[in-house]
Each structure stands twice: as C-alpha cells, then as structure tokens.
C-alpha cells in the first residue's frame, strides 16, 4: 500500500498495464515528455519509450480515429483528450465509429480502447474546462462510461477499463485529482465495470452521485446527520451501464432519492435515475426523487462559478426538503 492521489493512482494503473501488455500504447496531446498537463502519464514515456507513449498532433478527431484503427488491428490504445471541452472535435469518431464498430462488423473487429479525460468544475478554469458531459456519452449505445471518485477506485476501474474489450469513456474528476489522498495497493487489482458502490448505508433517503460530488455529498451528509437524518450514499462508478439494481434496492429501502451531479439539469444522468427509480421502486416512493444539478447554463468563469457549483449546503437543503415533503 502507498498513499496516492487520483493522478498517481491512474498513472500507476497505466504503468502496471503498460508493463504487462506490449499491445498497449498511450498517446494524446502532451502526454509524452510533458507527462500530460495534469501529469497523469508522467514518467511513462521514459519507461516505455516513444513508440508506446507519445505526443500526437493537436487534433482530437485524429487521436480517437487513429486509436480505433489501432484497436481493430490488435493494439489496445489508451488515449488522453486534454479536457472534457476538447472531446467534441472527436465526438463524431466516438459516436459514428468507435461505439459502432463491433456492431457494424458483427464482432469481426473488437474495439479494446480507453478514451480518458479530465472533467468537471471547481478549479477556477477558463471556458470549456469546467463541464460535465457524461450524459452525452452515456446516451451513445456501444460505449461504457466510467467515473471514479477516489484514488483506489480510479486505479481499479482504470485497469478494468483497459482490460475490457469494449470501448470505454473514462472521465476523471479533475477537481479531486490531487485533493484526495488515500492508501492504495501497489498491486494490480480490478473493479467490476457497471457496478455501483454503496459508500455509506442509511435509512431515510438515498443520494446517488459520482466523481467529485461524492465528497460534497459526504459533507452534506454530515450536516444531515446532525439533524438526525440517515442518508444512504451510492457512488455510481459507472454511468453506462447504470447499476439499476443497487439504486432500486436502496430506493425501495429509503423511499426517497436525490441525485447530485454537476452537469446541466435537463436531460442529465439525474433524469435517467429518476426514471429508474420510478421503474424500480414506484410503490416505495415517499417523496418525488429530485435532482441537485447544475443549471442549464454555461458553467461560469471563476467569479461566478460559486453560484453554479453544488455546495454541501445546497445538497443539505434538498435533503431537508425531501424529508419534509
């Protein structure tokens, strides 16, 4: 075991897999010498050489499109897109080819590839550097979408993602890249894709969240506890497939649900979870499941971001409202 940040944990996962499997290559903008703008790939080029860890030209469609070519021809590429806001030049390759190649080729070609990028707000960034586009990827059939909330999970999920034969969108909550430190095993381990984790059990209300919001939820839960409210917290870990079973079980138990997610409220993961709660636990619902979400606005720059970003206080406010319903 050693204390790792999420950056370190992902770096460690990449390191373990690069060591183990010569078919793995890692590339993207500035991932080589620089080790990535967040240093997630630090030291890997030195260790594995420029043929396996390298800088690409500045073109996201090219990064993803070439990775698909590599994946169908026997490599297992892991590509970095520099920020969530710069995944969109690659959106066509992702939606029109990456997600479809297995189906289109009737599985003649596998697509073992990971597209990873930092996402989310709370870091006082410029435009396009604070967004949470998970719902856009989750609506595309043929992809799996993974989001870790701790260094441990980041490592285990990343190794599973790399070993998966399906294409994976791996979104890294940049706000907690270095903010959370945790003991993580140095050994190789995996975590199942598509399974949520019950972070904490409770009886009065279920909160479903993921990524950087888990920490904010825990803070809100501490506030709720003071008022005697018992909260069950679920970390989705996987946005698609979404773990309907874990969510359903919990809501059937508590009768109440909040979804806490940074993205714009409309057509979000929260919307899907409310649909699921209705499908799985309709007769158990004691209050309307609700979304604590970002607004349907562009995420403001640093000075205005405090309004957009979800505070523990706002979560607590919604917990109370739900309980009092």
């Amino acid at each position: 075991m050693s204390v790792m940040t999420m950056v370190k944990a992902i770096n460690n996962a990449l390191d373990i897999k690069l060591e183990e499997d010569k078919d793995i290559v890692v590339y993207g903008e500035d991932v080589g010498v620089e080790g990535g703008v967040f240093r997630v790939t630090e030291g890997l080029q030195q260790k594995y050489g420029v043929e396996r860890v390298f800088d690409s030209p500045l073109a996201e469609s090219g990064i993803v499109g070439t990775a698909l070519g590599m994946a169908v021809s026997g490599l297992r590429p892991i590509v970095e897109l520099q920020f969530e806001g710069f995944t969109f030049p690659a959106f066509n390759q992702i939606l029109s080819n990456v997600s479809r190649m297995q189906n289109r080729s009737r599985k003649k070609y596998g697509v073992p590839m990971v597209i990873r990028f930092p996402y989310g707000g709370g870091v006082n960034a410029l435009e396009h550097h604070s967004d949470s586009p998970e719902a856009l990827f989750a609506h595309i059939p043929g992809l799996k979408v993974v989001i870790p909330s701790t260094p441990h999970d980041a490592k285990g999920l990343m190794i599973s993602a790399i070993e998966s034969n399906d294409p994976i969108i791996f979104m890294e909550p940049k706000r907690i890249y270095r903010a959370i430190k945790q003991e993580v095993s140095e050994e190789k381990f995996t975590l199942p894709l598509g399974k949520a984790r019950v972070v904490q059990e409770g009886t009065d209300i279920t909160i479903v969240a993921f990524g950087a919001m888990i920490r904010e939820c825990q803070r809100a839960i501490a506030m709720a506890q003071e008022t005697g409210i018992s909260v069950e917290l679920i970390d989705l870990r996987s946005i698609y497939p979404i773990d309907r079973e874990t969510v359903g079980n919990s809501v059937r138990k508590t009768g109440r649900m909040l979804i806490v997610a940074e993205a714009h409220q409309s057509f979000s993961v929260g919307s899907e979870l409310i649909a699921i709660a209705n499908e799985e636990a309709f007769l158990y619902l004691e209050a309307p499941p609700r979304r604590v979400a970002g607004f349907d606005t562009i995420v403001p720059l640093a000075q205005g971001e405090k309004y957009y970003i979800i505070s523990p206080e706002r979560i607590f406010y919604e917990i109370e409202k739900s309980i009092k319903f």
Binding site: V25, E51, S56, P57, A59, S61, G62, V64, G65, T66, A67, L68, G69, M70, A71, V72, S73, G74, L75, P77, P89, N92, Q93, S96, N97, M101, Q102, N103, R104, S105, R106, K107, K108, Y109, G110, P141, G142, K144, S164, N165, D166, L193, G194, Y240, P241, I242, D243, R244, E245
Partner: protein
Amino acid sequence: MIQNDLPAIFRDFDPIEDKMLQVIDNEGNVVNEPLMPALEDEIIIDAYKQMLYERLADEMAVSYQRQGRMYTYTPNMGQEAIHIAAGMNIRKEDWVVPAFREMGTLLAKGVTMKEMFLFYLGNEQGGSFKDAYHVLPIAISIGTQFHHATGIGYSVKYRKKDEAVYTFIGDGGTSEGDFSEGLNFAGVWQVPVVFTIQNNQYAISVPVKSQTNSINLAVKSVAFGIPGIKVDGNDFLAMYLVYKTASEYVRSGKGPVLIEAVTYRRGAHTTSDDPSKYRCKDEETLWGLTDPLIRLKRFMQNKGIWQIDEEKLIEEYRLEIDAQFVDAENNKSYPWEEVFENMYTDMPDELERQKMEYAQFLSWKEKRR
C-alpha cells in the same frame, strides 16, 4: 519533409505543376511508352475480366433496386480501373479501409457479391465482410476512414509487420476535416498507407470546383509532407503502375502516399439520385469516351491480345451474379436477438433487461393473435 528517394513518377508528375499520369489514351493507344507497366497478357486479360465483372454486378445491382428487390444502392460504374488496379496490388495481408464506392477492390479482397447484396438488402451480416481478411466495413461518415487507416498503419509499423494499408475517399470527402487530419497524422507517423482520392467530379450534385480552390486534389499532399500524384483513373495501366509504385514505396517503410485518381461517376450518386438535375448529357457523353473498360479493350485489341469471348463471359457472369443475388434475397434470417448481441463484447445488464422486456412484448403479441 518528403524524401529525396521518391520514385521517379512522383517527381515527373508533380501535382504542383498539375500534371496527370497517363499511359493510354481513349483509343487505347500508348501515349507514354516508358511508363508502360511490364504486365503479362494474362494479367491484363484478367484485369479486364475483373472490371467487366464489377461493371455487370453494378448494373445488375441497379436493376435489382429498380425492380424494388433491394434498397438504395451506390453505383460504381466508370470507376472500375481504380478498383481493380488497386485490388491487383493489394496482397492478402494488406488492409483495406473502404469508403463506399470501391466494390471491385472489395471483391478482390474476398468480399462476395452475395455479401454486398445482403448489405444493400438491409442486413448487417453483409456489411461486416466477415470472411474477407483485413477488410474493414464501410465507413459512411465521410472522412473518418482516413484516421482508421492511419491507426492501422501505426499498428503495422509498431509490430513491424509486412502489411500495407489502402484507403479511399471521394473528391467531396477531401473537404472534411478528417481528410486533412488523417493525412497529417500519417505524415508525422510515416505509416505505410496508400490514400486514394477517387475524384469522380461530383459529390452528389456538387462539382469538384465547388469543393475546393486548389489546382487539383493530389496537391493537397503538400500540406502534409506526403508524396502525391494525379493519375488518369480511367486508364487501368496508369492506375496499375501507380498502385504498384505506391505499394512498393509504402512497404519499404518510406511513409504514406496520396493518389488522386481522376475519373467520372457515370451513374447516379445513389439509386435515389437523378443526375439530370445537375449535369448535362454532353458532359456525360464526353466522359463516356474515357470509360476504363472501353479503353482497356481497345488497348488489348491494338495489341492483339483481345481473345475474350465477351458475350459468353457476360452471360456467365450474369448467371453467377444473379445466383448470388438470389442467395442473398433468400436469406431472410434476421433473428431479433441479433439487434442486441453485437453491441458489446460484455453485454451490459441494461441491454439484457431491454432484451427481456422486448421478449415479453413479443410473447404478449403472440398470444394476442
């Protein structure tokens, strides 16, 4: 930077000077003797047969569609010299990353007409080209295929395999961002990819002069530091020479090349298209004179190697193609489960659930009858 060890034709037909490589003219006369590829008569005869086969298969596909027996189809007529010349230079281990208008090349790689028909009959089994080695399915989103080819090129180079990659695009496709990005990556990575632009003068209704202001399409290679060459795409011998040279070049590890094959889409864009809306008969007639089959036939006649009983061959091919069509048409098997089963290697619970719910609906429906 482009290497100095470029094959002579790339230097002699510099696209910057807007030169076009040609070996025979419309009458089948050799206009550039030194470039005449050293091909045995058998090979030329075989090439003609392949072109004829593609031509017939294409004509028949159009007519099946007209008869209402097949959905929208994308004709290939007039572009056979490119497809067959490419096919003859592509080895078993080489990769083909198609656009959607290179049927002859696919056939050469082992795709069957039955599969092609099945695809246009609306069945993914056909489009998967299951048994054709190292052939990707058709990439409809134009331009995207350039990246796939470059990525495969990287694999091949990384694993030090003796494999080349061939990909195609239309003149219209050169406007897409992925066209440029793909060539740029290929230039930086120096991958063994032969990129072909089939310049058939139109993107649906839009003429090539509305696509770009560049003097030709081959010259776009300059922007990416790749050798480029413009060639008469209706001249089988010219295309053969260029593919042979390009193949040797990329296989020797010198990096990618870009070929502009100048041709003409003699048919409609698809069977739902009506070219008379946007081009005149005169133009079609003029280009008709450059037809690759006619030219190669004349060349063979001039050379005295035309010993083909064409009518018999046509008869024979027609029967064979029709048999494949009927085979495809009779393939009515599309179990509903197939909709779900190819999406993932590891099928998500959510999809299992949707599948189950659908099965419930189906059994309700069954009972209701």
